[in-house]
Amino acid sequence: MATIGAHGITARLPQGFEGRIFVRPASVGVTYPVGQFATFPIPDDIGDFGSGAVTLMGPSDVFSTLFEYGHESVGTALFAQQGRPDALLESDFSPITLRRGIPGQSGTQWFFTESGRPFAFYAVLGSHSQRAALVPHVNTLLSSLVLSPAVSDVPATRPQWN
């Protein structure tokens, strides 16, 4: 079980998951941290919410994105919920809650504020008919996330030897 952390987000990945936490280079404006987690190999060149990845999913796969918004979103109605959802239900997933509708898949999306940071959590199931088996994986991932108050990243330490 691997643990990764960057940009104030730490994830203890459940077995079979891989992931990345990154900030896209900003060509214009400001970009914020994004976490992507999946039970299949994540290509490097996918969209924030999984475009280019969800088409690779098998029926037993899960993909999820944790997307941080700008601090100006804190306090708005969309992010009024404090803290992530405790546990997602099967009924929270719907085929119409997908960024890109793909037959058989379903998704869910939640907006909330945690540690003073506004986030969206978006998850896709490879097969809606297998949601009973897949939703627990999403919940395990969701509960493993540690969201810290925003801090500037500490520069990497100088290597001791090469």
Partner: protein, 261 residues
């Protein structure tokens, strides 16, 4: 006087025999190194060795794929300070892990080749991941200077320890279907990596795709053309009303309620 000459002659003779023995031993060592593919200069431009692959099992003479063990996940940071974890047991593909350093001269050709799939000519559905030591042992900016962004580059000293990497360059091939290492060792030439993957693929057969995942290859115009073909085969041509839904019910006719499975 005569005795002194005899003794001197004997000593010179013995020294000559000793030097000849050392020269012969040195020649044997050089010949053995040559057979192993160790040469001078750019490994990628060296002529093909007689031995096609010099990957070594962990226990010489005993190593089989099943004995190489389970391959742990790779977790660390990227040269730009992001976090990255790569699971090597979540697909039917092979994953080729290249343990490289930014400063090792023998790694230079592999940095280039591993990030250039066309040059490496690996079999389809082979994932390449480059693993360097973590920022406590490597300078991220130097690693970043070698990374092209075409394959994941993960900095993780822990991964080097997990895989018991003796030095760089070092390579491990993992079968994603089983999560087990199917080959590992050093390589002196880029072509050896391709040969290793091809052999592993041949040994495993062509049983890929059992997880029922979608295809990754189509993009852009090819994807558009493929979609057009599928629609045409279904009798849906340009201008078909179904291509212009007016309501959500047109797109998801069974959305309310969601049918139970």
């Amino acid at each position: 006087m005569v005795a002194l000459v005899i003794v001197s002659t004997f000593v010179v003779l013995m020294l000559g025999i000793l030097v000849a023995g050392l020269l012969r031993s040195h020649a044997d060592i050089l010949r053995a190194l040559h057979d192993l593919g160790a040469g001078v200069g750019d490994p990628s431009t060296a002529p093909a060795a007689a031995a096609p692959v010099t990957f070594t099992p962990p226990v010489p003479g005993l190593g089989t794929a099943s004995e190489l063990g389970i391959a742990p996940a790779i977790a660390g940071i990227t040269p730009t300070g992001d976090a990255r974890a790569v699971a090597v047991d979540n697909s039917d593909d092979f994953t080729l892990l290249g343990f490289l350093s930014s400063g090792c001269t023998g790694c230079a050709a592999f940095w280039d080749a591993l990030q250039d799939p066309g040059r490496l000519a690996l079999p389809d559905r082979t994932r390449v991941v480059i693993v360097t030591k973590g920022p406590d042992r490597e300078i991220p900016a130097e690693v970043q200077a070698k990374a092209t962004g075409r394959v994941p580059v993960v900095m993780s000293t822990e991964a080097w320890l997990d895989y018991q990497v003796p030095g760089s360059p070092f390579f491990v091939l993992v079968d994603g279907a089983t999560g087990r290492k199917v080959g590992q060792g050093v390589a002196s030439q880029v072509g050896q990596l391709t040969e290793l993957v091809r052999r592993a693929e041949h040994d495993r057969g062509h049983a890929g795709g059992s997880r029922g995942r979608g295809e990754a290859s189509l993009a852009g115009p090819a994807r558009e053309a493929a979609a057009d073909d599928i629609l045409a085969a279904a009798g849906i041509h340009p201008g078909d009303p179904s291509l212009y839904p007016q309501t959500l019910d047109d797109v998801f006719p069974h959305r309310n309620p969601v049918p139970a499975e």
